[in-house]
């Protein structure tokens, strides 16, 4: 492969490229959907393809094709160069890349349980077990949808700076979704499981453990009340802290979005959170859903500190933004697959633990909410965030009270992080998927339990 890719790199120079990289992939995938115990279709597929990325006259050109043949890739390179030329006509600030050390490396995955060696029957049995645990929990459970995906393959990366990397890819993922009904009340809950280690993730995230978690949640929610709208003190669980850190802070600290006008643009070196807040984006955690060795620009991944004792100390970079900020690239350039350009994405993003117990966090709250598990979240560059909550409880006089459904929290990141007044000593990391620019990335987020002095709760109707 290396020699063939080198021919393509050389062709790029002859078409006028100042920089060129190629990313080839061979991917095999298995996926299933189980709806109330019915298998929709057992799916398995193979694909291969590559993308070529070039810089010509300071503008990017990109072409993707469903082939790894050298002749096709050389054609794609010509096309990418003509795309770059057309885009460069009115360029004001040409793209520059941060110089990185060239690397040659081969990364192999050695899973304990390789999903591609596990039979369809065994995979389906796992899903049937999830289904059974959830339906057996209570007769008011009405539906259960389980998606499963495993993806394995190899990627080949070469650039004109002399880097060549072969890397195994391995992802195992499942999402379990269930609903319950009593009278007119319909509840809904979900969890995801994800790993880059192997199929062994299901030995830990078992059907009993995750299935019961979801079933219990949707049954409890049947009796839940909707929250009062307004501003209240809250204790936030690791799962919600994670999505908050990811959505409300993480996206703003992706350097492309920082440059595009996120509220962090003038905050490097400034305090935006209380002293207890330390935040990392870490691609090095073994087996975590957002971990990998090299990013899709051939830069090694890292553990990147973003907030230290409340002060913004880092951003997440690709080579282009690293050059703009004159900071080291952090290895955050990721592409969903060969069809897409690498863009700045998070990996495993979390708030570091502190030293309080859960009970200490609840102490002293006369009336507030415990926000345990999220349903979704989103933020805007101006720092406005929203996180929808699928499991919440009232806190009354420092004790957990009634279940609450359909809550969500909102506010502005720059104000909210200052309101963190105590950080728990526990820690959890949750897998998830993140959408940006039409691409999906596998990530984790998490943290400890955290108390905030106040947060806006969007009430139920």
């Amino acid at each position: 492969m290396k020699d063939e890719l080198l021919k393509v790199i050389n062709s790029g120079r002859s078409f006028g490229a100042d920089y060129i990289d190629i990313r080839g992939e061979r991917l095999s995938e298995a996926s299933f959907t189980l709806k109330d115990g019915r298998v929709e279709a057992a799916k398995e597929g193979l694909q291969e393809g590559a993308s070529v990325r070039v810089l010509v006259n300071g503008a990017w050109g990109f072409a993707s094709v469903g082939s790894l043949e050298t002749k096709v890739l050389i054609d794609a390179t010509r096309k990418a160069c003509s795309m770059a030329k057309a885009a460069s006509l009115k360029i004001k600030e040409p793209v520059k890349l941060y110089e990185t050390k060239s690397v040659e490396d081969r990364i192999e995955k050695r899973p304990l349980k390789n999903p591609s060696e596990i039979s369809i029957e065994e995979k389906l049995n796992l899903l049937f077990n999830f289904n059974k645990v959830i339906f057996d929990y209570d007769a008011r459970v009405k539906s259960c949808t389980i998606d499963y995906l495993d993806l394995s393959g190899k990627s080949y990366f070469m650039n004109s700076d002399g880097t060549y990397i072969e890397q195994d890819k391995l992802y195992v993922w499942s999402r379990i979704l269930a609903t319950a009904k009593e009278g007119n009340i319909l509840t809904y809950g979900r969890e995801e499981i994800g790993s880059t280690a192997g199929f062994e993730v299901f030995d830990e995230q078992t059907p009993e453990k995750i299935g019961t978690l979801i079933a219990k949640r949707i049954i409890n929610q049947l009796k839940a009340k909707t929250p009062k709208g307004g501003t209240f003190p809250a204790v936030i669980g690791p799962n919600v802290v994670g999505v908050f850190v990811h959505e409300a802070f993480g996206h703003l600290a992706e350097a492309d979005l920082t440059l595009s006008g996120s509220v962090l643009i003038d905050k490097l070196g400034k305090k935006i959170a209380s002293d207890q807040v330390n935040i990392f984006d870490d691609g090095t955690i073994p087996g975590a859903f957002g971990s990998f060795k090299y990013d899709d620009e051939g830069v090694p991944t890292k553990k990147t500190m973003l907030i230290k004792q409340g002060v913004v100390v880092g951003l997440m970079h690709n080579r282009e933004t690293a050059a703009k900020f004159n900071m080291e690239p952090t290895g955050n350039a990721r592409a969903q697959n060969f069809r897409y350009e690498p863009i700045i994405r998070m990996r495993n993003t979390y708030m570091a633990p502190g030293d309080h117990t859960f009970e200490e966090l609840l102490e002293g709250i006369k009336f507030g909410y415990y926000l345990k598990s999220f349903r979704g979240g989103q933020a805007n560059l101006d720092g406005t965030f929203q996180v929808g909550i699928q499991e919440a409880y009232e806190i009354i006089d420092g004790e957990l009270g009634a279940s609450v459904r359909n809550a969500s929290i909102s506010g502005n990141t720059l104000e909210a992080l200052f309101k963190v007044d105590a950080v728990g000593k526990d820690f959890e990391l949750w897998p998830g998927r993140c959408g940006k620019g039409g691409q999906t990335a596998f990530i984790c987020d998490g943290g400890p339990h955290v108390r905030v002095k106040e947060v806006l709760i969007g009430g139920g109707a």
Partner: protein, 457 residues
């Protein structure tokens, strides 16, 4: 490059795959093929900075064997790869579990002839022309006001051919084009930054106005400056087609699928013939809507697309069906099995709206606003995907949004949350505008609703 593929050559490959599957012992077989390309010119931070070309082709094979389904795909169009794909699909079907309710693949029917879905000018559009159109949009946005910053934007041209062949004599292909652009902006003044604002245009024919898009995006950003907080209370609210789409997609458009209804995941279960929305609302799904983004002659299972009335003057009339859910309810599929665009071959069909049309009313957008004493105009929603699709409950942030006082836009609003249930909101709709725009699956004018709970900070 892969040699140019056309409708005939895709059908030919599909027929071979289906024949091979039957020869290998499959009970039934289906091949879905797609070929296409997409050119995009992208704007980032006030300048055009990249050009992208994507080409994709492939075949997805579904095989039914003893009432169990297997599926496999490949993007490699040689005989060996296709043979392997057919074999894998068959093997998967054999390893899977039978489904007693499996109705079989559909049989051939007559297809409609949708208008305005293909324009050769889009196929032939040069990258230079695409780039200069993007430039017009950018200049219009930047020329409007110097407080405006264009965070990103793009100009995109897409060409697709889809084809489907199955062992029940379905053999149909079609081609389509689309061109689209958007500009996302924010405005900055002193220490204030507005939320992202955007405008867009999209068409199946080469008829879009990028200059207008750039200008509108900038106007919106400037009008979002000087935002104030709002008092918690119940207000009249006007939703644009963008904010309405975000709200409906995760609630009504999920709940009206027969799959959700049959599986007790829908508040619309058992409500056919009952009032579920205000009488001013008539909603239909129309896979043949002229120039619609999801208009096509056939759906992802080879069923002819059609117009299906879902809500008529507030009364629930029908759900959306694919073949499987239709057979369960002993009705016909409404042609709502969807497969995707450039990568349609990678996935099995999914029940989804085509063009979800809210029938237009008589009022102009100005009139919708003019009749409001105390209300809000909602440009975009954050967090709509965290709504509860089963119950229809939502709790979202409206940003950007504007306060309306005595019929006029008074000022922009900061951080207001909207909470409620989609069915209450639909019952409270008081007026529908007369200007259609398509936002993804939704074709809708602006819509006004009353008594919506807004939570201020």
């Amino acid at each position: 490059m892969v040699e140019e593929l056309n409708q005939e050559s895709l059908l030919e490959i599909g027929k071979k795959a289906v024949d091979l599957a039957l020869k290998l012992g499959a009970d039934e077989a289906e091949a879905y093929l797609s070929y296409g390309f997409e050119n995009t010119v992208k704007i980032e931070r006030n300048q055009i900075i990249r050009g992208l070309h994507k080409i994709d082709q492939g075949i997805g094979v579904r095989i039914a064997h003893n009432k169990a389904l297997g599926f496999s795909y490949t993007n490699i169009f040689d005989e060996q790869a296709i043979q392997k794909t057919v074999e894998t699909a068959l093997k998967s079907a054999k390893s899977s579990k039978p489904d007693e309710n499996w109705p079989g693949f559909p049989s051939a029917k007559r297809f409609g002839n949708p208008k305005k879905v293909f324009d050769s000018r889009i196929v032939d559009l040069s990258v230079e022309e695409l780039s200069s159109q993007a430039s017009l949009m950018l200049d219009a946005a930047l020329g409007y006001d110097k407080r405006v910053f264009v965070t990103d934007g793009e100009m995109d041209a897409l060409f697709l051919i889809h084809a489907i062949v199955n062992s029940n004599d379905i053999e149909v292909a079609g081609k389509g084009t689309a061109i689209s652009c958007y500009a996302a902006t924010l405005a900055r003044e002193n220490s204030e930054v507005t939320p992202i604002c955007f405008d867009y245009d999209v068409s199946r024919s080469y008829e879009i106005n990028p200059e207008k898009v750039g200008l509108n995006a900038s106007k919106m950003a400037v009008s979002a400056l000087k935002a104030k907080k709002i008092e918690t209370g119940n207000y009249s609210a006007v939703f644009t087609e963008v904010s309405l789409y975000l709200l409906l997609y995760y609630t009504l458009m999920a709940a009206i699928k027969a799959d959700a209804v049959q599986r007790e995941q829908s508040a619309l279960k058992g409500k056919i013939g009952q009032k579920v929305a205000s009488e001013v609302l008539t909603i239909y799904d129309d896979g043949l809507f002229e120039g619609g983004l999801f208009t096509s002659r056939f759906d992802g299972e080879g069923v002819p697309t059609q117009k299906t009335v879902l809500i008529e003057n507030g009364m629930l009339r029908n759900y959306l069906y694919d073949c499987y859910t239709a057979s369960k309810d002993k009705v016909e599929s409404t042609g709502n099995a969807q497969r995707g665009l450039l990568t349609a071959y990678l996935s099995t069909p999914k029940l989804e709206a085509t063009n979800f049309v809210i029938e237009k009313g008589t009022k102009s957008n100005e009139e919708l606003l003019n009749e409001i004493e105390n209300g809000v105009l909602i440009g975009y929603l954050q967090g709509a995907h965290s709504s509860n699709p089963a119950s229809g409950e939502f709790s979202v942030v409206a940003t950007p949004a504007w306060k309306i006082e005595n019929g006029e836009i008074a000022y922009s609003i900061k951080g207001a949350m909207l909470a409620g249930n989609i069915y209450d909101l639909l019952l409270n709709v008081s007026a529908v505008g007369r200007e259609y725009r398509q936002m993804d699956h939704l074709v809708s004018p602006w819509v006004r609703t009353e008594n919506l709970k807004v939570v201020g900070q």
